[in-house]
Symmetry: D2
Subunit: 314 residues, 4 copies
């Protein structure tokens, strides 16, 4: 008896162990997420492009399968969290792809951050096979993945979202159903657009304080709880004061997400001048070899143009 078959009511979904979960993508985010699913009692079958992720998942109690298709065959719900649109496409429709293994009635949940348009296309192709798709990108970083406190932005049919809710609850704290398939990715891009521009705000106010001879730590103390408050100012600006540019969220991934946002804006015929400016300024950091540093390093582009360095004490 398959717990996700259409005829079963949501209420019957009482036992996590009845739902067999497939999980593909055991990176910084995926590995702790798979572990949280196991901890919540879901049996999890995994596949990953490289060995170390698999070994770590096996150590947490997962079962290994030989290919995306093999994972799909033994799963009621298949979750992916990989890098970009082509990666999700390859997992589903590449050689030994998962699409051929998913049975009608199964649910495919992509938790990567990819193109909303590609998402809708994939959902359409899966629907022809009787497979429902949710896009459920996350926010909250490695910390949120470990502690199971991610924010999850879910796109898809309401009924499917409800069926998947127990899994989401094992992974995150804020679970918002934002609209039909693709809407989750759109909201994630909104999140990235706002966050990226907030990094520019942070950079400009830090460098302004520093170059004006004011201790940027004092500036932060005065402004970060008022109308200029932002998560970036509270969480990343202090790291700038300590010249700590470790990620956090890597510039390489930030830029991928801004590319997706700007590509969506292009399809939608929508001017995003602030997003475009930040995307260009990040190129200066890429040119400097900082792809794997944290996004707070954006401040260095503004610093370089000002000839100063932001430091605690001013």
């Amino acid at each position: 008896m398959l717990p996700f078959a259409g005829e079963l009511s949501v209420r019957k979904l009482v036992t996590a162990s009845q739902v067999r979960v497939g999980f593909i993508g055991l990176g910084i985010m995926g590995l702790p997420m798979a572990a949280n699913l196991l901890r919540s009692g879901f049996p999890v079958t995994v596949w990953n492009r490289s060995r170390p992720g698999i070994e770590a998942a096996l150590a947490s109690g997962a079962t290994e399968a030989a290919s995306p298709r093999a994972v799909a065959r033994s799963s009621d719900v298949l979750i992916t969290i990989v890098t970009d649109s082509p990666d999700v496409e390859a997992v589903l429709f590449g050689p030994d792809g998962a699409a051929d293994g998913l049975r009608p009635g199964a649910v495919f949940i992509d938790m990567s951050t990819i193109s909303p348009a590609v998402t809708r296309d994939l959902a359409g192709r899966l629907a022809q096979r009787g497979v429902a798709m949710l896009d459920a990108p996350v926010s909250g970083g490695e910390g949120g993945a470990r502690s199971g406190t991610l924010a999850i932005m879910v796109g898809g049919e309401r009924e499917v979202v409800e069926r998947a809710r127990p899994l989401f609850e094992a992974l995150g704290k804020t679970i918002v159903h934002v609209g039909p398939v693709g809407a989750g990715q759109t909201v994630k891009l909104c999140n990235q657009v706002a966050g990226a521009i907030h990094l520019l705000a942070m950079s400009e106010c830090l460098v302004l304080a520093q170059k004006a001879g004011v201790d940027p730590a004092k500036m932060l103390e005065a402004v970060s709880s008022g109308a200029a408050a932002s998560w970036m100012l509270s969480n990343l600006a202090p790291r700038v004061l300590d010249r700590d540019f470790a990620p956090g969220f890597m510039i390489r991934l930030q830029q991928k997400d801004l590319r997706l946002a700007l590509a969506a804006a292009q399809e939608l015929e929508l001017a995003l001048p602030g997003t475009a400016l930040v995307h260009q300024l990040f190129h200066a950091l890429e040119a400097d070899g900082a792809q794997d540093e944290g996004t707070q390093a954006l401040v260095r582009t503004i610093e370089a143009m000002a000839g100063v360095e932001v430091r605690r004490g001013g």
Copy 2:
């Protein structure tokens, strides 16, 4: 016995009624601030360019004086909160100006948002007369002024700041001494720079959601408590959803503050490309006659370029 004379220790400043406060500038912010000082027991003498502010202050228990100079003569501490640098200059050094009325040992506190450079210049001229100056611009709006919960960013000599602390505590909740004279204004400009850029972030993510067919209210629900969180997103974006563009903080004043920030950046030889972009985009609203609307109206510039209108429900 003058309570602010140099030889008196801070500790002696026990009784508010011993400190005679002069207050110039009885507008939206100044009037409730003067009332809070009266409520805390300070005797307050006032002057204002127009009658209505004076009448309201008299009703709260203030005393009227005939000119800035007359206010200064009867005050130990003189507070101004007016619009821009030339207004402060006129109050101090114009005809019947306050500078001629301030006795040596008095303290002048400017709570307007004006140029840091002009602030330092005024402080220098007052120092020659034995008058100490603090710059203490505020954040928190009319609401904060009424409830006495303003954030106050204070620049000046530590000892003078401590002497003035009882007054600040009658007016605000967060009082941060950020550096020497002028530093308060610099920090206020940092606050305005960050806030203005956050408005652009808000505008771009709202319009992206709307034009992509996602309910912007759902988007806000999903993103406004995570890494993209900002005061603007939490407080002003919901007003955009309701098409409520009442101020809040008027575009006219926002633009004045961005002009001050960009002028400071020019003196400091500092590129603020995000601030400059937002300042230009606000010009489109000014051209549309929206000077007296709230700053959240920035979204209309992005909407106009996209041909959509952000609305609850998408």
Copy 3:
């Protein structure tokens, strides 16, 4: 005896009729270019996705072939001028693609504006078949195509460029060999970057004059021959004064080219903030349905933000 075989010296290429030319892409640019080749004595075999272009070429004396492969089979030199990278890829490597028809020793010349990276990739794949590739995008528009006065920016091996020179001379006036394969496309993108930013310059100075109450025609008369001179100001600004927004060069194609430029900048890790700004501002025109209007319509985005319309007479 094949005229383009390696052992033949350039000098032997005396008779145009010895070189059989294949031509794919009979649009606004391609059709008059094919006609110019015929006029110069080259025998031309054509293929096009739609009939009208073919009929017109036949009327000029071309021969029709049934597929890209068939064109390639009967050609010593194959020329393409189509819209974008995927179009060139489809012509070469799609079903019945030209690559299978080109014999070793043949030359493939792509005169479309496409990605430099895709160009290098295609050249590599063709080299494995013994086919040399040149990228030779053009500037000068429909007028230049008709009159045979195009500017042609050629990338590829010097020797191959020299062999193809007689064809280029039938098509254009300025023929510059700018570097190895892909360099032609890079230079074309430089051309588009500069031109697009010049359109922003034109737009801002026209609207500044208009809104300041100065006749923009007088402004142009005064500035367009000095240090602010540009082709755009001399050629497109007068059309703005007449509210003539017919293409010229369509916004749709301008945006495609800016996308290519920004994608190249991304690969190169290079910040192009001016290009990115113009690309976003053009989105406002796309949102307004102006994709097929001329690029001079960019002025309407600046006008809309200013609430004025540029007109002769001010």
Copy 4:
């Protein structure tokens, strides 16, 4: 008999020696301009803030006067070419100012680049004394000043412009009457706006070519005569290839002019996002101590963000 009195027809203005010219501001531009007036037969009385300019003018045949007022007293037409708005105000209305020396019927011509609004204000104050004013800023640089080939953009009453034409013809080649008083300055700002944005276009296309591995000299050869042509690309880009950053036009003055343009845009409620971006990017050069270098140095800001240096040969 005063040659500029209203009752005299233009035709009677046959002899240059009848018109006594006062000239204030003997800098890089003013000195050769005064010399050209002398060469054309006008008697010229001069004043300057510093000695060297005066000595050089005396050597060319000018007469010295002791103050702006003294120059004005002995002149039918008074010309100024100084740095900024306050300098013109000081010359006219400062101590020993020229306004007190100008007789009714005299003409005041300001050839500096200053604020259009200040220009209109000065014209109004002079009109009350019966003195007509023209604003006649110039383009063409030191070279144009020496060779008498400046472009002159003239604002003012038509009749006054005609009376002054013989003087303009001694100084420039393109003399355009662009509108009423202040219009000359507005047009000059349009010129500066377009030119500054063209410098950004130049910088972006040069760095794109360089970083893509294409010889920027080849790129210039291919693009600078087509639709991307500009005076900047033809005249300043070659200097970049030679790493020659000598002025030409100093960054310090360019920034002053962009400040004037952005201040005018602010008064007019007009968004100039391209101008604002370039103004900010120039701040990076000011921070680097490059104020007195030529404006072509803007390329170094784009280079710094890309980690490359544009050089002939690529």
